[in-house]
Symmetry: C2
Subunit: 406 residues, 2 copies
C-alpha cells in the first residue's frame, strides 16, 4: 500500500501526477511528494513499525514506493549510540551519535538511493545515474548492481580515490573535469538526452524522501521521544530539510506529540555558502567555489540551501562553519572517545557541535543528536600518519619500544 498521492510544488502548491519529474512547469519550484496523511495515520503505529524489518523499510507507510518491491541491501536502522565520553570532553550533557556509516555502502546516501532505485524500476527505467561527490556514487552503483540495472555515476575527477575504486567495482564511474556543480549541471543536461533515471535530478522528489527516515529512526530509537537539538551536515541542504520534514510528519500522523526540535547545520569554512548566509542574516545563498577536505560536503551552489536556512531559522537552530584543522581534530576526537571512524563530513559535524558548545548555541541541558553520515574508511588519507616502526616478535622487543613511552 502506497500512500503517496501526487507531487506538489514547494513554492506554488500546484500538484502533478507521480512521474519522473522534479520541477514545477508553472513556477519552476522544486517538487515534493505529497501523501494522504490521514490514511497513513490510520495505517501506521508504533507497534506495526516495531514488527517491521530492521531497515528503513519499517517506515514504508511514509515512503513513496511499494516496500515489497524494494531493491534492498539493508539501508537504514543504523545504531544511535549515547556518546557520554564525547559529551564530557565538549562540556555537554546528553549527546547521541547516529552512526550512519553502517549503511550498505557506508553513508546515509543508501537511504535515498534504495527509494530512488525502487521507484526507477516501477517507472520502467533501465539505467540509473547520479551526480555525486562520491558517497552517492557508491550507493547508486551498489543498488543498481543488486537490481540488475545499468548505471553511470558522474563524479568530480578529484574526489577521494577510495570512493572511485570502490564504485568502479560495483558499476560505471564517469570522472568529470570540474567540481560538483559542473557535474550536476551536466547531469541536468543529460536528462534531456537519455531515458535515464538520474536519482538526484529527475527522480529527486522520491530520492530525497529516503532521508526522512533518519528523523523517524531518531525518534523511535529514543523511545518515541524527540531530541531537543540535532546537528546535521549541510551539502545540498536536502538532508537537513528532509530531517525537518520527517519530524513534522511524525507529529502529523500521530506517532509523537510535538516536534519542537532545534535543527542546526554544519559546514566546512572551505564550502560554507549556507553558513555565510546564516551569519549575515540573509536569505540569499551566494555560490562559492569549494576548497575543503570535506569533499562530500563540497557543493558550492546548494539546491536546497535556501530551504535549509529557512528550517534552521524557523526551529531556532544555527549554522556554523569550521576550519580544516578543526575537522581533522574532530575526526580523531570521535574516534578516541567513541570508537567511530568518520570521513571529514562527520568531522565537520563534530567540530560544529564543539564550536556551538563553546558559543553557548547548544547547552548542557539539551538532548542532542548528531548525524555521522559517511565512513572514515573512504577518506583515510586525511588521517594517515607515519607507518608504525615494526618491532621484533619478542617480549623484549615490545618492552624496548613501548616502556620508554611510560
Amino acid at each position: 500500500m502506497v500512500f503517496a498521492e501526487s507531487l506538489i510544488c514547494r513554492e506554488c502548491s500546484r500538484t502533478y501526477e507521480l512521474a519522473p519529474a522534479y520541477f514545477c512547469e508553472w513556477c519552476f519550484g522544486p517538487l515534493d511528494v505529497l501523501y494522504d496523511y490521514e490514511a497513513v495515520a490510520e495505517s501506521i503505529s508504533r507497534e506495526k513499525i516495531a514488527k517491521g524489518p530492521p531497515t528503513l523499510w519499517r517506515y514504508a507507510d511514509l515512503l513513496p514506493v511499494e516496500a515489497s518491491a524494494a531493491t534492498d541491501l539493508g539501508a537504514g536502522f543504523t545504531p544511535l549510540v549515547r556518546a557520554d565520553r564525547l559529551a564530557e570532553v565538549l562540556g555537554l550533557g546528553e549527546v547521541w551519535v547516529k552512526n550512519d556509516t553502517l549503511n550498505p555502502t557506508n553513508s546515509f546516501k543508501d537511504r535515498p538511493v534504495t527509494v530512488a532505485v525502487t521507484k526507477a524500476i516501477e517507472f520502467g527505467i533501465k539505467t540509473v545515474a547520479c551526480a555525486s561527490t562520491g558517497n552517492l556514487a557508491n550507493a547508486v552503483a551498489a543498488h543498481a548492481a543488486r537490481a540488475g540495472l545499468d548505471s553511470y555515476v558522474f563524479v568530480p575527477h578529484d574526489i577521494e580515490r577510495s570512493k572511485i575504486v570502490a564504485t568502479a567495482a560495483l558499476g560505471r564511474v564517469v570522472a568529470v573535469q570540474g567540481n560538483y556543480d559542473d557535474v550536476n549541471r551536466l547531469c541536468v543536461q543529460l536528462t534531456e538526452e537519455y531515458p535515464w533515471g538520474i536519482v538526484n535530478v529527475n527522480l529527486r522528489p522520491y530520492y530525497a524522501e529516503g532521508s526522512k527516515t533518519l528523523a523517524f529512526e531518531t525518534a523511535e530509537q529514543l523511545g518515541w521521544e524527540l531530541p531537543d537539538h540535532v546537528v546535521v551536515p549541510v551539502a545540498s541542504g536536502a538532508l537537513l530539510t528532509k530531517i525537518a520534514k520527517g519530524f513534522d510528519e511524525l507529529v502529523q500522523v500521530g506517532l509523537v506529540d510535538s516536534a519542537e526540535v532545534r535543527i542546526s547545520g554544519a559546514q566546512a569554512e572551505g564550502c560554507s555558502p549556507v553558513a555565510t548566509a546564516f551569519e549575515e542574516g540573509s536569505d540569499d545563498v551566494r555560490p562559492q567555489k569549494p576548497d575543503t577536505i570535506a569533499k562530500s560536503l563540497a557543493i558550492g551552489d546548494p539546491a536546497d540551501g535556501y530551504y535549509a536556512l529557512r528550517e534552521v531559522r524557523r526551529s531556532g537552530g544555527a549554522i556554523a562553519a569550521v576550519t580544516e584543522d578543526e575537522i581533522v581534530e574532530a575526526i580523531h576526537l570521535l574516534a578516541r572517545t567513541e570508537g567511530i571512524l568518520t570521513e571529514p563530513a562527520g568531522g565537520v559535524t563534530v567540530a560544529t557541535l564543539a564550536k556551538m558548545a563553546r558559543d553557548g548555541r547548544v547547552t548542557d541541558s539539551e538532548r542532542v543528536v548528531i548525524y555521522i553520515t559517511g565512513h572514515g574508511l573512504k577518506a583515510l588519507e586525511v588521517i594517515a600518519t607515519d607507518d608504525p616502526v615494526p618491532i621484533p616478535a619478542t617480549v623484549d622487543g615490545f618492552r624496548a619500544e613501548f616502556e620508554k613511552e611510560e
Copy 2:
C-alpha cells in the same frame, strides 16, 4: 541475568570458574563457556528475542556477560540478503549472503570483541590487547576507545595499510616483524608479563562466544528455519566451530527443531592447512607459511583447525581452497551481482561456493548461506584498476567517451 556457569575443557571436560583463563591446567585443552541450558530454555523465546535490540545483544541469554553492561557499538544483526543474481551465475538455487561487513568496524570481529571487552571490564581489566591480522585490531581499538580502556593491538607489519591507518586513529597499533603466528606467539608470552586482557588469548573463551550469534541471526532471519548448508571462511577455525555450536544451542534451548546443517569451510590456496588436511582425510593440520592476498585468513597454524575439521566432517560438509585469481574474480562477481563489496576473505568464500557448485558438493536444491566477514574498503588495493580518464563537463564530452563503447 547471566546463564554462563563455568569454563569447561573441550578435551577432558574438567570445569573451572569463570576467570581470565583459556587452557585446561590438567590436559592443556582449550576452555569453552558452559551454560545452564535448562535455565536458558526457560528464559529465552522467539518473542523475547524479537523485542530485543537490533544487535547481537538480543541473544544475551546465550552470551557469557551481562548485556546491560555491554560496551556496545551496535555489533551484529547485520543484513541477510537473498542473492538470486549470484545464485543464477553459479547455477545454484537459493543462496543467501550474510553481510557482516556492516558491523561497527566492518567485519565479524566486532561480535567476539563486544563480548570480550565487556567481560574484560567485568574482570576489572584496564588494558585490552589482541593478536590480529587486521580486522580484529580495528574492532578491539574501537571498542576499547568506546569503553575508555587502553589498548594495544599487535599485527604483522605487512597487513593492508588501510587497516593500520584506521586502527591507529582509534587506538595503539604495534606492528610486528613476522607473520600472524609470530604475533600470536608474542601475545601468549605477553599474557605472562602484563595484567592485560588479550581478547583472543586469555579472554578467548568469552571472546569466541560472540561468533555464535552469526548462527542465531541466520536462523532468526530465515524465519526460525535453518539453512541446509553454510560456507564459512576458515582462519583460526574458531568462527566455523562457533557457528556450529550456535546451531546446536538453538536446538538445545528449543528455538528450532533440529540442526542438520552441512557446514563447509573456505580457504585460500596460499594458506590452506585445514583444506589440505580435509582433502587428505587426515586429522593432522600441518602448519603452513601463508602467502595470499586474503590477509585476514592468513593463519598458518590455526588454533581451532582440528575442531573445524571435525565439525565439517560430522556435518557432511567440505573444505576447499581457491587460487588468488579466483579470489579477485569472486570479489568482482559479488559486487556486480549483489552490490556488496568484500575484502579478499569474502572473495575466498564466494570462490569456494563457486568451486563447490562446479564439483557438485553444493547443489541447487539446497538453501545455502555464505558469510561475508570483512569489508572491501579495507583492502581496495586488491581491486584497484587504472583511474578513469576525466571527460569534459559537457554532453558531447560524455558522448565522445561512452557511446563508442556501445
